[in-house]
């Protein structure tokens, strides 16, 4: 089993979270969230992958029943995840635009209206 894709997925998740924690710009923070989610895509697709397997597309019958295919369930999960990401990223970016309008800055260090 090749460990490399799992390491890449885990790294993307961690570096995305680190990016949000150290961010100086909210648009950068939202995109780091997107990067963290890309890590989940890599992980999911890696879970379903098999060597020397074909895409999970079955042709006209009679096609052989025991054809080696990659797992389609995780691919469906990844597509669902992408849709969720599109929605949430759009919402958070529009909030970032509003924050810039109301506060005049996008730097989290400068946002002081919710303390204590």
């Amino acid at each position: 089993m090749n460990v490399y894709p799992y390491l890449v997925g885990g790294w993307l998740l961690l570096v995305g979270a680190l990016g949000i924690a150290r961010s100086r710009n909210l648009i950068h923070a939202v995109l780091c969230l997107s990067i963290a989610q890309s890590g989940t895509y890599v992980l999911l697709v890696a879970v379903g992958f098999q060597h020397n397997a074909s895409p999970p597309v079955f042709g006209e019958p009679p096609s052989p029943v025991n054809v080696h295919v990659v797992d389609p369930v995780v691919q469906a999960m990844t597509l669902t995840d992408i849709v969720v990401s599109a929605t949430v990223t759009a919402l958070l970016l529009s909030l970032a635009v509003q924050i810039h309008k109301r506060h005049g800055t996008l730097d989290p260090d400068e946002l002081r209206s919710l303390q204590g």
Partner: protein, 617 residues
């Protein structure tokens, strides 16, 4: 082939689909319809969901309601379909969500007059997300509805886009909860890689005769992290106060009343059905009891030092969430029953207090304790409703909160934690006392005006969500009255304790859940069919402890109001004061801090769950 789609199996998908269709219709047409029509459509939709979930709940008395969506029923125990399993606790939470949404929409009739934003469509989408989350039995399905709930919640939190605080609060809420959801998704992927299944019954069965390895522990910890971010367990709790401080009051009702308990429900449902047989009970119990105590203390400490009424109520929610986690975390049927009762009572009381805060904002333009000092003296009946709410939050019998607290304390002591009653009394006294302090200052003008504290989030400058009100209209009185009255009635009705015990027993019966979902066996719930009289609703020690916490709350409020009058020199040492202000400094409103704490919490959970398994003891 047993009949797996028994009567009523079509109800759960309908409870999810009806609000989505109505939300889509309202989003498309609300610009062309007059406002009363939009209100009527929204309230009618949520009332229909109330009816659907009430039918599901009545059907769960006989057994769990299992629906394999699309008819993909299992063959020889194997299925590719998505399963919806409604047991009494899940159906009760679904009903609670629908009832709270209905009352929030009634309150919003006159209260919410926003120029832009699809408020009603978003609330109905939020309801659909909550119904799906409460009724599903598939782990990835839980993630999907978690995100649907989340997206609707972020939009509702930031709906007052003209206000500085709102957009910052919504951003903090959105980033932290989304990151939690993605961590949970990694956990779901790991579970799938181990078991090849996404449905909770199938996962549980696949893991049943296994030894826990690093993969299982990692998957469990990550899924728990995701759901407990929503459930606001410490140190994932920072987003909650920010979100509640800025969201409109009817939305805060939904957050505190049912969304946060749903996070806890999801976490413990996953534990009992999927991981209950593979992870050692003692380790998990210790994990949740310790973290629950920390959460309760954090919430109580922050609650007493707040002056923004909505933030104060938010921290009191965190304190009570800690108590719910302790009650659920002792991992017994009695503890789960106590937590269920406490959640139901707390929902009614907290919701009515948030609506009182909404009325304050509408009448006086502020939710700040110092700003409103003495201005509520002419509020009439509302003053006594607020006093009743504060006392109910401090668990005065016979409110439902008192019943839940008594049952939870007894369950905690019985499970081997004799300090449970002390913790429960302390937290409910502190949070109830903080609310009573605000009520005393605002509605009765008691005590001197509190001093300034420049580093704190004040309640001034908050934008009204609707027109300024002179008198409180009926559309606002009815929800407040029904919520507080409902909490009172819950403690007075006979048989509530017994029903909760049955629901708790069904919830912890992971094996029965798996068997019924996969084989359609109509099992009797454990403990059902007893003919002897059920447990008494109230027992003497529980009532005495509840009266004690209510009395202590009044004492705490009085002490806080007249502190500087009674005590000339401050006896609280400089060190303690600095400690408290340092603790408040941690709640900085900075998104980077919140994400860092999320990662810390993930590691803490992993250490608690994984470390005992590493040592060869």
């Amino acid at each position: 082939m047993p009949n797996l789609d028994g009567g009523g199996a079509w109800l759960p998908p309908l409870a999810v689909a009806v609000p989505i269709v109505a939300a889509a219709g309202l989003a498309a047409l609300s610009r062309h319809l007059p406002r009363p029509a939009v209100d009527v459509v929204a309230i009618a939709t949520s009332l229909s969901v109330v009816g659907l979930t009430a039918s599901i709940l009545s059907m769960t008395a006989a057994g769990r309601v299992v629906t394999w969506v699309g008819g993909w029923t299992p063959h020889h125990g194997f299925s590719v379909g998505i399963v919806l399993v409604s047991d009494p606790l899940g159906a009760a939470l679904a009903l609670l969500a629908a009832v709270l949404v209905t009352l929030a929409l009634v309150f919003s009739w006159e209260y919410v007059q926003l120029d832009e934003g699809h408020f009603h469509a978003l609330v109905l989408l939020f309801l659909a997300g909550m119904e799906g989350f409460a009724l599903t039995g598939d782990l990835f399905d839980m993630f999907v509805f978690f995100e649907l709930m989340g997206a609707a919640a972020y939009a509702l939190t930031g709906i007052k886009i003209e206000e500085r605080r709102s957009v910052q609060g919504a951003m903090n809420f959105g980033i932290v909860n989304s990151l939690g959801a993605y961590v949970a998704l990694v956990g779901v992927g790991l579970v799938y890689s181990k078991t090849g299944n996404l449905g909770l019954p199938q996962i549980g069965r696949a893991l049943a005769h296994d030894r826990p390895d690093a993969l299982v522990v990692a998957a469990f910890v990550m899924v728990m992290t995701g759901f407990l971010v929503k459930g606001a367990m410490a140190p994932f709790h920072f987003w909650l106060a920010d979100a509640h401080a800025v969201a409109p009051s009817p939305v805060c009702v939904l957050f505190s009343g049912v969304m946060v308990p749903l996070g806890l429900y999801g976490a413990f449902r996953v534990y009992w059905v999927a991981f209950g047989t593979i992870l050692p009970v003692g380790d998990i119990r210790r994990t949740f009891v310790v973290l629950g105590v920390v959460t309760a203390l954090v919430g109580a400490l922050m609650c007493v030092s707040e002056r923004n009424f909505k933030r104060l109520l938010a921290y009191s929610t965190i304190g009570h969430v800690g108590l719910f986690i302790v009650a659920l975390g002792v991992l017994t049927a009695a503890g789960t029953a106590g937590a269920a009762l406490y959640v139901a009572g707390h929902a009614g009381v907290k919701a009515s207090l948030f609506l009182v805060g909404g009325v304050l904002l509408a009448r006086y333009g502020s939710v700040d304790e110092k700003d409103l000092h003495g201005r509520g003296i002419d509020a009439g009946m509302l003053r006594w409703v607020a006093v009743a709410g504060g006392l109910a939050l401090a668990c005065l019998p016979p409110f439902g909160t008192a019943l839940g607290k008594a049952v939870s304390e007894a369950a905690g002591s019985a499970a081997g934690y004799p300090w449970c009653p002390a913790l429960f009394v302390a937290v409910s006294a502190l949070t109830g006392g903080a609310v009573l302090r605000v009520v005393g200052r605002v509605f009765f003008g008691l005590g001197p005006v509190p001093p300034e504290d420049e580093r704190q989030t004040t309640g001034e400058g908050e934008e009204r969500e609707g027109p300024a009100l002179e008198r409180v209209p009926m559309s606002m009185w009815v929800p407040i009255g029904m919520l507080l009255g409902g909490a009172l009635v819950m403690g007075l009705l006979p048989g509530v304790h017994e029903a909760a015990l049955r629901a708790g027993a069904a919830f912890v019966d992971g094996g029965g859940y798996r068997r019924q979902a996969l084989a359609g066996a109509h099992l009797q719930f454990p403990g059902a069919g007893r003919t002897a009289a059920g447990p008494a609703d109230w027992d003497a020690s529980g009532v005495l402890l509840d009266l004690l916490s209510a009395a202590l709350a009044v004492g705490v409020a009085a002490l806080a109001i007249w502190f500087r009058v009674v005590v000339r020199r401050p006896f609280v040492g400089e060190g303690a004061r600095r400690l408290l202000s340092g603790f408040r400094y941690l709640h900085s409103g900075h998104i980077g801090d919140y994400v860092a704490w999320l990662m810390v919490g993930l590691v803490v959970l992993a250490v608690f769950v994984g470390l005992p398994l590493v040592r060869p003891s």
